[in-house]
Amino acid sequence: MSGRSSAQRRRNILLHAALAPLALIWLFPLWMMFIFSTMDDNGIFSPHVVLTPSTHFLENFNALEADTGFIRATTISILVATAYTLLSVTLTSMAGWALASYRFVGKGVVLATILGTLTLPYFVVVIPQFIMVARDFHLDNTWFALIVPPLFNSLGVLFMRQSFAMMPSELFDAARVEGVKEWRIFLYVAVPLARPTLAALSIILFLHSWNNYLWPLLINSQPAMMTAPVALGSLIGLTKVSWGGIMTGAVILTAPMLVLFVTLQRHFIAGISAGAVK
């Protein structure tokens, strides 16, 4: 008995001894992002290793704001991510409902097309998207350009279809026999039951839009319509720039997502594992 439990204890110690240093290494970049955001550039590039916060955060923020108009960029990012999330959840859950609940002409074709093109790299579509939005319709540097084209993402369709398909269809049949219209069945029976899935999906979509870089970089290059990642990215690589300011921007972009992640970890993880197992 005691031999077995001491072997177990040894294993437990080994487990923590392996994981703890690795976890510290993993936390290090995030911690340093925060530390650097409180340092001026002399501090960042001083010959000493400093791992504790300093006092220059506001100064850094002012430099960042002067360089890029970061408040405006962040506001644009918040609005775009919110609008994108609401629209995408609405469109994809409606489509997912249709694919889960009805037999109809063309269903097989629609599903096969979505599944068949799922893993195609985004790069395949980015050039025609750019030509269409910027060149043909001159819609670059608009809200439309930021919000609408990325709505093609089919993750939500498959995610919601799965969720609706797992609900017992008798629930919906019961409402049908009672004469409830299909859109009301969707709205008052299906959607309330899908709330956990909707939460997970919303979080993933919001994160996706908030961090989106390539498309906003291409389509909204005017400073007045830049999103926060694009504005921050425009500073990287410039010679005369405040690194403290860049780190402050990085913290502003990252911290809210970390808070969301900690408070809604369950939904995040559900979203990621379901998103992968498309």
Binding site: L15, P29, P121, M132, V148, A250, L258, I272, S273
Partner: protein
């Protein structure tokens, strides 16, 4: 189920319009573009200027080589690490589980720009990594100006960002393995290590394959890291990837035709490598 084509399309159409306009049409259009000479005022059919050029363009060959090097080194390291992480995080004996999960999963929510900026600063010649190396008496490394070191930074950054993501997926796979399989093995006197290699890994194979495929597709499109961390594929063209090459051709040179041919090459390679992986990992008799 009754057939309800009208109702179905009432729900489906709004999404379908977006899907067709911004996904299906571009896929087709891009294929067509890849045969056009887009350098002239009138775009004309001339695949020699696109597909033909791919075969002889040394810059493309360089980008392809760099991408494959990153793929071959980074993906196996990251998947192995993610598998180990998931297994350890799944251990019932683990204390302060929340903190460990946070440490490894948090990078998943950090945006490309923020983390790229961070790694660029960490690995700056006068950055904290070099200061720490010097502090323990090692030689400093010109991380971003040495071609091999720059490649290493990209690989380190990618691993930091994505290991947790893959661990989450593998963890979900682990948790779907019924507990009693392990209890039976323990009763049979099978050691924990052997349980991992002879039970866990085989049972996880489909999930791990999925992670490999997702990682291959992601790596083939690598763009933000070389664009931001190593300053547009530097030093020189040492870390230029296919994604970055495409960006340059498409949006600096505005050579849409050539860039589309590159895009289709990326897609074809991603699919081919994924299929190769699935084939290698298939169930054998």
């Amino acid at each position: 189920m009754r057939q309800r084509t009208q109702t179905a399309y009432a729900f489906l159409t709004p999404y379908l319009l977006i899907f067709l306009a911004f996904w299906i049409w571009p896929i087709i259009n891009s294929f067509w573009l890849s045969f056009l000479n887009t350098r002239s005022a009138n775009w004309t059919f001339n695949p020699r200027m696109t597909w033909g050029r791919l075969l002889v363009d040394p810059a493309f060959a360089n980008a392809l080589q760099n991408t494959l090097v990153i793929l071959v080194i980074q993906v196996p390291i990251m998947i192995a690490l993610a598998t180990v992480l998931a297994t350890l995080l799944n251990s019932p004996a683990l204390k302060v589980r929340g903190l460990f999960r946070f440490a490894f999963f948090a990078p998943v929510v950090v945006g490309e720009v923020a983390y790229a900026a961070m790694f660029r600063l960490l690995f700056n010649e006068f950055g904290i990594i070099n200061k720490m190396l010097a502090g323990i008496g090692l030689t400093t490394i010109p991380w971003l100006s040495d071609p091999n070191a720059a490649m290493a930074v990209i690989i380190i950054a990618l691993t930091w960002r994505w290991a947790g993501y893959n661990a989450i997926i593998i963890l979900a796979g682990l948790q779907s393995i019924p507990e009693d399989v392990y209890e039976a093995a323990t009763l049979d006197g099978v050691s924990k290590v052997r349980q991992f290699f002879f039970m866990t890994l085989p049972l996880l194979k489909p999930v791990i394959l999925l992670c490999v495929v997702l990682s291959v597709i992601g790596t083939m499109q690598l763009f933000s890291e070389p664009f931001l961390i190593t300053n547009r594929g530097g030093p020189g063209q040492a870390t230029e990837t296919l994604g970055l090459f495409l960006y340059r051709q498409g949006f600096n040179a505005f050579n849409f035709g050539y860039a589309s041919a590159v895009a289709y090459t990326i897609a074809a390679l991603a699919i081919a490598i994924s299929l190769l992986n699935l084939w290698l990992g298939r169930e054998r008799e």
